[in-house]
């Protein structure tokens, strides 16, 4: 039996898709929200330090499972079929809410320069760096909407580098933990400008949910008391309450269907029972994140679109990037660990821009609480033998006496870092899987080294007896993972971008990509609030230009 025609199908219920579904449903459009994962609640999360979205050595807790492999092509031409807990898989999550169910929830606005890096720094050799077609000012009202509708706590008033905001954050910061109290005066002595990190987390009761209980099961886990604000406990329930939005979980999108006139007519997907369904719609929004969105577009081939949708100029899947994380760890003689979640609390934006010798930069912040296994496996990073009596002594003495300061370094987009569909490997539904390949730009290494030095200096000033720079950037592999972005870039010129400034795929009337894929560059910040702001911005335009199903035929 054919499914009832709707106005819009949104594929993917993460930071982008959840917001689009709610905005369209509130405007009166009928919406089907497809999600490949399940709808989890905190009761489904066993708070397992070996099986979660941050430490997934025994598997991820919120998907995807072994039915969804990917192919990683290394720089020497070797191809590896990898499961979702392999580092090269670039996993985020597969569940209602996407990454926002289990994220650390830092809620950063990009800075004004982040939207015009090319004009700020000039062209960068070997990079596809461009300005965005939208400015910070265009997004500002939508950042604000995200902060108030999803819910952000924190206080960035001491951040002299922040872009102007009209309204303060809706909730105050959580009370400072011990590392905040140690790092703040140290930063001030160094002439830096520390402040409370904005977080998508209730510090006080807000939006009908309670406040954070400061437990240690935060980043990587579903919040025990639903104080962490994702799309699964904010906009998605509201979308469903309108009566206009139907959420279909465990549905695997196969392809976006087009007709002989090149117009999108719906989405073919496998439902929870594995049956192939076709949901017709007036418009389709792809919000599957920066690996799966290009995969879906590239898998949507037809006579009119032999290379996939939006891919006339071979830009779909290009410029894959996440963040080069960089920083330093310090060992202290006093106790730092106070078991007060989430842990990350203080940040500086002194080094996001205007650094000597390289383009851009990034924020620095203290790290989330680390589990014993996380500290144990990071011992080599702080010069401790990996095993034996010395390792055990280190754990006993320093588990509560170490601190890490780190941050996401803004990467230079590289054309060769890309997502393709693999010609041979298919998932359990017979759909060609994503194939990831690429490398870093040398600028990322320069910046990472610089930032690591700044983190080290901060820790030393805070009283660390020993400090160690941390290096996680390798030139011959691309980043991605939970901060994945860039693969369906927005731009004014269809020859060098995939979507326009309202996230509509160039040359397509009724197909949109709304998620981190559209980022031109990924900021020196965790990208989720920007994804949310872009989703509100694009939805606003979609609703304003919506003429009804018949007006668009």
């Amino acid at each position: 039996m054919a499914l009832k025609h709707v106005n819009a199908v949104v594929v993917g219920s993460g930071a982008g898709g959840g917001i689009v579904a709610k905005e369209l449903a509130e405007a009166g459009l009928s919406v089907v929200l497809l999600e490949r994962g399940k709808w989890f609640t905190s009761a489904d999360d066993r708070k397992d330090d070996l099986r979660n979205q941050r430490t997934s050595v025994l598997g991820p807790s919120f998907g995807p499972d072994e039915r969804n492999p990917r192919v990683y092509a290394d720089s020497s031409g070797g191809e590896h079929v990898v499961p979702s807990n392999h580092w090269a898989y670039s996993n985020n999550a597969a569940c209602v809410g996407g990454g926002t169910l289990s994220y650390g929830a830092m809620a950063w606005r990009f800075m004004e320069q982040d939207f015009r890096l090319r004009s700020t720094y000039g062209a960068v050799e070997g990079s596809t760096l461009e300005d965005w077609p939208i400015s910070y000012q265009d997004l500002e009202p939508f950042y604000e909407k995200a902060e108030w509708e999803i819910g952000v706590s924190g206080d960035d008033s001491a951040n002299v580098f922040r872009a102007p905001r009209r309204r303060p954050l809706p909730m105050p910061p959580l009370s400072p933990n011990r590392s905040f109290q140690i790092l703040k005066p140290a930063a001030e002595r160094l002439g830096l400008h520390p402040f409370h990190i904005p977080m998508l987390r209730n510090s006080v009761p807000y939006n009908g949910r309670g406040a954070c209980i400061r437990c240690r099961w935060c980043v990587g886990y579903a919040c025990e008391v639903s104080a962490k604000c994702g799309t699964q406990n904010t906009v998605i329930p509201r979308a469903i309450e309108t009566g206009n939005c139907e959420l279909r979980a465990e549905c695997i999108a196969k392809e976006v269907i087009t007709n002989e006139r090149g117009r999108v007519t719906g989405v073919a997907y496998f439902d929870a029972e594995g049956r192939l369904q076709e949901q017709t719609a007036d418009l389709v929004v792809v919000s599957c994140s920066a690996v799966e969105s290009p995969r879906l577009l590239l898998n949507s081939k037809s006579r009119m679109f032999p290379n996939g949708l939006g891919n006339r100029y071979d830009w779909v899947g290009r410029n894959l990037q996440g963040h080069s994380y960089t920083g330093a760890s310090g060992l202290f003689e006093q106790e730092i660990y106070d078991d007060l979640g989430p842990g990350a609390s203080i940040a500086i934006c002194d080094f996001n821009h205007g650094n000597p010798g390289f383009v851009a930069g990034g924020l620095l912040a203290n790290e989330f609480l680390r589990s014993p296994y996380q500290v144990a496996s990071a011992a080599a990073e702080v010069g401790i033998p990996r095993w034996g009596a010395a390792h055990k002594d280190f754990m006993r003495h320093y588990f509560k006496r170490n601190m890490t300061v780190m941050g996401p370094m803004q990467e230079m987009p590289v054309f060769e870092s890309r997502v393709q569909v693999d010609p041979k490997v298919k998932d359990a539904w017979g759909i060609p899987v994503a194939r990831i390949s690429g490398r870093h730009h040398p600028n990322d290494l320069l910046g990472a080294e610089f930032m690591a030095g700044k983190a080290e200096a901060w820790l030393k000033e805070a009283g660390a007896s020993k400090t160690f720079r941390l290096h996680w950037t390798f030139l011959d592999i691309p980043s991605g993972g939970q901060h994945q972005a860039g693969t369906c870039r927005m731009g004014n010129d269809p020859k060098i971008s995939v979507v326009d400034k309202y996230c509509r795929v160039h040359d397509m009337d009724n197909l949109y990509v709304i998620d981190g894929s559209v980022h031109v560059n990924n900021g020196g910040f965790n990208p989720v609030l920007t994804i949310m702001a872009i989703a509100y911005h694009a939805s606003d335009n979609l609703v304003k230009t919506w003429k009804g199903a018949h007006g668009r035929g």
Partner: protein, 140 residues
């Protein structure tokens, strides 16, 4: 072997904590594709021990065991098996899995009685949420 990676001292070592049980269980689950690696690797450990000291690994003293493991870690351990398999890669797996079994959640078969968390001074059992405000026992 795991007892050299996390040796017993004033706190129990890896084998008391159930690390071997943890690894066995994972080899029947998430690590099932490492079974052959383990079978080959454990045979390789004994080959190296025989090559260096003429005894099985289990019959060696602590210093000799550590020497065998060091040589494996550096990829220099003797033994025919290591001509086809990397001793340092295998040892890397055992180190990582031992850390998981000792410091990870007891539900997976290791960290018996939460022994490592007690050692580190982390509240146990980890009731979801914060325990710092629980009243302390008088005269503890």
């Amino acid at each position: 072997m795991s007892d050299q990676i996390i040796p017993p001292d004033q706190d129990p070592g890896a084998s008391w904590a159930g690390v071997v049980n943890f690894i066995d269980r994972q080899l029947c689950g998430p690590y099932k594709n490492l079974r052959a690696t383990y079978r080959r690797g454990l045979a390789g450990v004994d080959q190296s021990s025989r090559g260096l000291y003429g005894k099985l690994f289990a019959d060696l003293g602590t210093e000799q065991q550590v020497t065998v493991l060091r040589q494996m870690e550096e990829g220099k351990a003797p033994g025919a098996i290591w001509k086809h398999a990397s001793s340092s890669e295998f040892f890397g797996y055992v180190v990582d899995h031992t850390m998981q079994g000792y410091y990870g959640d007891p539900r997976h078969g290791g960290n018996r009685e939460g022994v490592s968390w007690k050692m580190l001074g982390l509240p146990y059992p980890p009731i979801r949420g914060r325990q710092q405000n629980a009243p302390k026992k008088p005269n503890a």
